[in-house]
């Protein structure tokens, strides 16, 4: 993927870029210092520097932007990779992601934490399991048109709800499938961008935020950290009404309920209204507010790659390279989002604008 990204920017290996940000996880590869390999294939040997971000991939993009804004780098290559299928039992790793004295001992994994959140959200907003299942149906259908995703399918609401129950109300088809994959992109400062591409996409807003870890300290039906991250990004981008101004959204929904909850957290509609928008078709690729036209995480994107892949999918929409998954019309702004940790503890939001 690095080769392809460099080729698109007219760069050659180790030439023309001065920093690399990689995103991967030791736990999912069973190796320590995974960035030795990822940095190396991106050309870090005695050339560009390399740093590894260990959150969702959107944060690697954020860090790349920070590096460019700081003036310490002008062109940055960002890579993300994860092989989830190397891991036999993801629940064990996720369980070690909870604090040792309390929540880990309860045997929680991220799916169970998500289930707690989904239940709180259902209860608060009077939603039904069908509302969540519908989000999975939409993503899986959209993913069929995306040649990069393998998790597409025709299953209807009934079939999704009838698939194996993992933790109420989350079924197997409502959880992001385990998969392997990688993505890469080239970020550049304004002065260099013109020489690298004739169809630039500008990153105009970034923000990230971390919530309390202890699930009991949070109102699980709300997503304060996402609201905060989105506020930072909108403010930077000068966006007042995101629902009207931004034309396409690629969000990090690891579970079906998150597609709805994150839309509300991003301030695109009122609390509890996302389910109605979905039911009425407004979130479809040709709808008023296209969400995950690429198929999104539920269509099969590995964790860590998730957020940076969202950035790429959203950018492709702006520069007209989205192919089969392109939304109707030509959006001016796009938003990408990624989340890490149990029940959306950490969020990162990136707003992009089409190039002139």
């Amino acid at each position: 993927v690095v080769e392809e990204a460099l080729k698109k920017a007219g760069l050659t290996f180790r030439e023309g870029y001065d920093d690399i940000v990689t995103c991967s996880s030791d736990h999912w590869e069973g190796l320590t210092l995974t960035d030795i390999r990822h940095g190396e294939v991106a050309g870090a040997h005695l050339g560009p520097g390399e740093e590894k971000v260990c959150h969702d991939g959107a944060n690697a993009v954020l860090f790349g932007c920070v590096k460019i804004l700081s003036g310490h780098a002008r062109v940055v290559v960002v890579t993300s990779a994860c092989k989830e299928n190397e891991v036999l039992n993801p629940s064990v790793i996720e369980n070690f992601g909870f604090d040792a004295p309390y929540q880990q001992l309860l045997g929680l994994d991220f799916t169970q934490a998500g289930a707690l959140q989904a239940t709180c959200y259902m209860d608060r907003c009077g939603l039904a399991r069908e509302d969540f299942a519908r989000a999975a149906v939409k993503s899986r259908r959209a993913a069929r048109d995306n040649p990069f995703l393998q998790g597409g399918g025709e299953a209807g609401v009934e079939e999704v709800m009838a698939s194996q129950m993992l933790a109420y109300p989350i079924t197997a088809m409502e959880r992001k499938p385990a998969c392997d994959g990688a993505c890469a992109m080239v970020l550049a400062c304004e002065e260099r961008a013109g020489a690298l591409t004739d169809r630039p996409v500008w990153i105009v807003g970034i923000g990230n935020c971390c919530d309390f870890h202890n699930l009991g300290d949070r109102d699980l039906a709300e997503s304060r950290s996402l609201e905060n991250a989105a506020r930072q990004a909108y403010q930077m981008a000068g966006i007042r009404n995101p629902a009207a101004e931004i034309g396409v959204f690629e969000i990090g929904a690891h579970y079906s309920y998150q597609s709805l909850m994150w839309i509300e957290g991003l301030g695109l509609c009122g609390k509890g209204e996302a389910a109605g928008l979905l039911r009425d078709g407004h979130l479809e690729r040709n709808g008023r507010m296209p969400v995950d036209p690429s198929g999104g995480l539920l269509g099969g994107v590995p964790r860590y790659v998730a957020g940076s892949n969202s950035v790429i999918e959203a950018a492709n929409q702006l520069c007209g390279e989205a192919g089969e998954v392109a939304v109707e019309g030509r959006p001016r702004y796009a938003l990408a989002h990624g989340t890490s940790g149990p029940a959306g503890q950490h969020h990162c939001v990136i707003v992009m604008k089409e190039g002139e």
């Binding site: 190796l31 040792a100 870890h213």
Partner: protein
Amino acid sequence: VIVGIGQTYHRSKRPDVNVAELSAEGARAALTDAALSPKDIDAFIVGNMELFEGRYMQDLWQNDFIGAAGKPLLRVTTGGTTGGTLACAAFEYVASGLYDVVMALGFEKQSEGDSRAALKTVADPLINRWQTTGAIGYFSRQARWYMKEAGAPETAGSMVRVRLARHASRNPHAHLRLEIDSVDEAMKSPYLIPPLRQSDMCPASEGACAIIVAAEEKASKMAKRPVWVDDWISVHKEAVYVRGGRHSTADLEMAAAKLFERNNIQKPMEDISVAEIYGPATWAELEWLEAYGFCEKGAAWQLEEKGYFHLDSHFPVNPSGGVVCTNPIGATGLIRVAEAAIQLRGDAGDHQIARKPTKSFSSAWGGSGWTVAHLLSAQK
């Protein structure tokens, strides 16, 4: 501008705290030093060795303990250089203009997991996993190499150890504060793999370190004694570092050469008043001082013999006692920056260098051979 510096005390085991509490201790120390509260921090950057505590997403748990909830948080994990990278990332965060006050926090609590087992997974599972020996194997080979190349006697490592022991005994934060008064005494230490002795190698420590970096306008109101950040750099080397049997310090050489060139430093030992370098073994300190270009190839052990690197001498190296005396991995690189900054402030107390501090060099090393280095100044 660095406006706050803090670290915990370091021990091989800290049963009194868990990982999150340990991190909080480091964060609190830096906040106290800067007279700030977590509310004043705009963004947090944290890091450690991902596998060493045997935990997943450790940053998210400790988040509640360091006051980062509701704030931007980034975790960077670049192996041995993690601490050095944390500092770079904090500098970049502030320089970007997006955040005014940023905390970088590194920590490690190695007794929670099995560091050596985790570190063994560093080698490629297909090519050279079977021959990995962890850090001891690497640094014994490095010591042998240095003896051959520099014509150094076997006592050279122990000379370094005596200096570091003397420095660490004056540093209240240091982990190993052993009384090693003479080279003869250091030479009594058992071999790990000859010529590397137990006393030559860094310990496995537990501890945390934090610095607070602020934009210039804010810093002038905050800091009593601000420390100015001149420049920083990161250089990587490919993983198969034993290719052709050749040992290489190309990453160290390139990092320092570029950094010195960019900042117009022609005579490093004169222009820079103190070095806090990342030397996981005594022998590495000697070889790397040469690689950074502080002295000629093969000259470091002779200068060491003359006592040149002591804290009251010409060119103080690791007045804190260095990595050989304290090594909580994720924090180690950041401790180099913190200790260098404390020297520039003139705040180091018993281990303050005799020479007037103007500029410092700090470095971190890790992974398959990669180097992060920073230059700090006492004045703007």
